[in-house]
Amino acid sequence: MMFVLPLAFLGPVLLVFLVVGGGLLLVVVGIYNGLVRARNGVENAWQQIDVQLKRRFDLIPNLMETVKGYMTHEREVLEGVTAARNMVQAAGQGTGGGDRAAQIEAQGALTGALGRLIAVAENYPDLKASANFAELQEELASTENKVAFSRQFYNDSVMSYDNKREQFPAVIFAGMFGFKEEPYWKIEEASEREAPKVSFS
């Protein structure tokens, strides 16, 4: 009897408390899951860039083999591509890991070197006439596109994540659960804008 009375009195209060609390908990869980999903999306998009860069890295030996025979007067350009590839390898591509900043710089240099190779290849009628060249040019253009589009998708994912993170009410919990701001891929523009400035002679 002693216990029943307080419980009967507390009953409705407790019930309201439980319902409101449970509802709030559900909302928070929903927000949390949404944030996790968005953050995994960003992580996945970052992996995609790596996949595409790796693809490009693996393509280069093949490419060099094809153009080497034709482009005898372009030692400098060819060596530039090889050097840039070595730089990428030194920065950790292919071995996995490595310094992210050095990696970004090396990849920028490789993009520039490949661009120059395509530009000078135009000077070689034999090369242009060969069936291989059209194929090669397409392959290279597509490789560069895939790298660029994977970066674009990464930035889209970051934007979506940041939007989600910064909006009310998620903004209250984002900091609490440790959802940090993710960086956009901006370096790309700086390094790639500089790349074509290198002398062609």
Binding site: A45, Q152, F153, S160, N163
Partner: protein, 414 residues
Amino acid sequence: MFELIHRNRRRSALLVVAMTLLLVAVGFFAGELLGSGGGPLGIVFALALMGGLFALSWFAGDKVLLAASKARPVDGESAPQLVNVVEEMSIAAGLSKPPAVYVIESNVPNAFATGRDPEHATVAITDRLLALLSREELQAVIAHEIGHIKHRDILYMTLLSVMAGSIALLSDVLMRWFWWGGGRRRSRTSSDSGQGELVLLLVGFLVVVFGALVARLVYLAASRTREYMADAGAAVFTRNPLALASALEKLGAEQAGASSEQGKTARASSPVPPSARAMLIVSPALKAGAGKRSQSPGLFSTHPPLAERIEILRQLGGQPNFSYGDYAGAFKRVSGKRASFFPSDALGEGAVSTMSFNADEPAATELRREALDGLRRGAGWRLWDCPCGARIKLPMELDRERAVACPRCGQVAE
């Protein structure tokens, strides 16, 4: 982009529920009209019909469609550029895997996407369209199709089409049954039934007759809005709205020309069976002059007016940045209507930058090419720009009288 898809699903679910209710209503009244108390049986039959058709299209819909349009699969060996472009756009859209790629042998330019989800998706393109487009335009067209896959339109439109089809089938069967006198016996027995049942019969009749029409209109309206959204998606994936605009222009001109020249009907100029026309990138029923902005979007058309789609994209291309919100804004300016089909929370998504595409700033390769061509001209080469877009460079040593055919399209130079 991601919010758009999320919200899309919720809206689509609502529309599907509404269509199911309509189907249930038609089934019920069809049952009642055939025999008093036959309503529940009618509902069961209607749902079974829909379920059966849907199961068929879920498991075999894409295969049936591809077989009917005589599409053949291609890979990186047989169509390297096309497959590359599909892969690029899948990356840009963040699809978990690139869709299968098919080419249709047809002299009509068109393309479509089919399947049930991003893991089971296919894009198909006619070889005529493939020949017509530049790489960037091809990218834009593929991005539009990938947009349909990413937005889950392929499943959703299949579902709506199956529902509209089931309703139409029920109503058609019922009409025929009445036409052949099936109703006479029924009306005699109902003469001694109450007024309530008479009203019920009348309502039922109206539901069955107009249900099919309403279902079809809903399906077509959904198809039109999905085209706008796929255009917006293509602009975002490629960051290049102008490329899609120019591709659509080429498509429209070619199709209008083809159907007026040879007096072709829409049936003859469509690479797919009539029931799948809504899936194409542009409607095969385009008339000559469809490129002009005159027609309003008819209630019965599967696609929005092409000129309007092009105009919206051109407006986006004039800006350095754009978002889905800007697309909705351009839509409003061009069509004079509110883009209510765009989920409002997608409009809050940030702006993306457009690419500096063609026109003003030719790439370094392009400049180099121009310079070399100038030198060749000076040295006595003949340069011929084929109407298909290829530039043919004839060395000075070549006999001037000799006829030369374009290696790309086969036209003979004058």
